[in-house]
Symmetry: C2
Subunit: 166 residues, 2 copies
């Protein structure tokens, strides 16, 4: 174990000692999913008031719908969700480098060729939200009955701002 | 807007009204990342005591390291994380169907061919944790200096159990 895992294990023991939600069902009770970024400054449950058991939460670098598609399909086809909130955010790391930058950095640091990986960076935040919502709406794997909206979370204020209406 | 987005927007307005963490830096303060499942019964921040700004959180169906690799590389190469906790969980949906089941369901429901997508299901939970930790440790894109551990979160108790030590 490390100092970190010791600390997190102790935190978890405190959480488990007062845990009362062991009875929840597998499918999300409120049938929605949130697809957002892995960014450390986002706590989706707190920021949106998601109760335990209510919603799937998919997170990856940049809140990429392309990257999240496998999970989205499982969520709506296997586990019954019918509403998707796609939430990117201000100050996203994906705005700060390009795909080529990442490939070059990996080559320099690790002497490894990552050119087969699309890091899915973007240069315009609002446009990226619109593009990803469109990607999901156009996907043959997402039925029209699934309601999809696009949002930006402001890491400076804690607020969400709607970009593509539900 | 929908009933759901109205509710979540109201929840978020309450969150933002007392928000005091607008100054946090982009890189995770405690330089670690948690890779876990999108399951609705998991609240990683609460269950592990992750403070806002401390850690990246990657979530996808089944806590797949294969699916999460792009985000992992960005986290450790671009944003300085050096410790990974991979956390799968009891009662995971990915234990309840096979890749073929998912392809057949998508064909039946959506008349769409998803056989090009590997849904990354698994049949043995402990083995899946071990496999995914090994996948990351063996990856040429994850340097040996990154500490990786494997865990199972029990949705029945709220506890995490160590499977692969850090």
């Amino acid at each position: 174990m490390t100092v970190l895992t010791d600390t997190l294990s102790a935190n978890n023991a405190a959480y488990a000692s007062s845990f009362t939600k062991g009875h929840l069902a597998l499918p999300p009770a409120k049938k929605y999913l949130v697809l957002t970024c892995m960014d450390a400054r986002i706590d989706p449950a707190a920021a949106l008031g998601i109760d335990l058991g209510d919603a799937h939460v998919i997170r990856n670098a940049g809140a990429s719908a392309v990257d999240g598609l496998r999970s989205v399909i499982i969520s709506e086809q296997l586990l019954g969700t019918n509403e998707i909130l796609l939430i990117k955010h201000t100050g996203c790391g994906m705005l700060t480098f390009t795909n080529d930058d990442a490939h070059a950095l990996v080559q320099k640091n690790l002497e490894a060729d990552s050119t087969g990986i699309d890091f899915l960076t973007f240069s315009n935040l609002n446009q990226a939200v619109e593009n990803d919502v469109k990607f999901l709406k156009d996907s043959k794997f997402v039925p029209e009955s699934v309601n999809i909206s696009g949002w930006i979370y402001e890491v400076e204020t804690g607020k969400i701002v709607n970009v593509v209406p539900a």
